[in-house]
Symmetry: C2
Subunit: 134 residues, 2 copies
């Protein structure tokens, strides 16, 4: 049976990266490991690693990105939770068999080789859930 | 300096616990360690532990609870992220000094002895952040 191992990260939509960093980095004292533009997703991302999980801050860099639409509709705040799994293909097949609506029926492959897929919030009680296999 | 150590849990508001469990437990295969009523918070809570972090499902048991108001306003979905810290008093003092708006200026003490406090979403880019010291 495929298993969910841990929370890999929690992603947060921000409208102003410097303002967000003034909270997460300067006030909470968390370290920013990486701050970079992601042109493929028309966004800017900051990674703040913790022991086993990251906090990710995502700022839309273009008004036509998915993240910009989320921001316009819901405002800044929690965006998705990412679960690390040990067998993403097996879990997607299991979810499919249980009629869970998937945004990605097959894993997508990130630039760093990680496989990931999103579950539709409609099947997850309004939560956007990402699955990740490292 | 007080430090944020890890994500302790991610809390999710649900309107129907059985429906939520059919996703998190039955479809994703996560284990439910505990399912109980929390009369003091007029809610029912399910804990689904992962390696270092939990997923918590919270269902309002009364229409006048804070969680019921959140559900009415925002719908079901991600509610808050809880960060485990090593010095909650020190971190609250640091946040206060940086003019971060706190819901709890002093830690509250849970039935099991854990100290916790919430940061106001207004100072955290729309995210409800809980701090936890175990």
């Amino acid at each position: 049976m495929p298993q969910v191992k841990q929370i890999n990260h929690v992603a947060i939509v921000v409208d102003d990266m410097e303002q967000a960093l003034s909270f997460w980095r300067d006030a909470l004292g968390m370290e920013v490991a990486e701050l970079r533009d992601v042109p493929a997703e028309k966004s800017q991302v900051a990674f703040l690693p913790l022991r086993d999980s990251d906090v990710e801050l995502v700022r839309p860099a273009s008004a036509d990105s998915g993240i910009a639409k989320f921001l316009a509709k819901r405002g800044p705040g929690l965006h998705h939770v990412c679960l690390e799994v040990d067998d993403i293909e097996g879990l997607l097949a299991q979810l499919h068999a249980k009629n869970i609506r998937l945004i990605n029926e097959q894993p997508r492959i990130a630039a760093d080789g990680k496989r990931y897929a999103f579950i539709h919030p409609e099947s997850a009680g309004g939560v956007l859930v990402e699955l990740y296999q490292i």
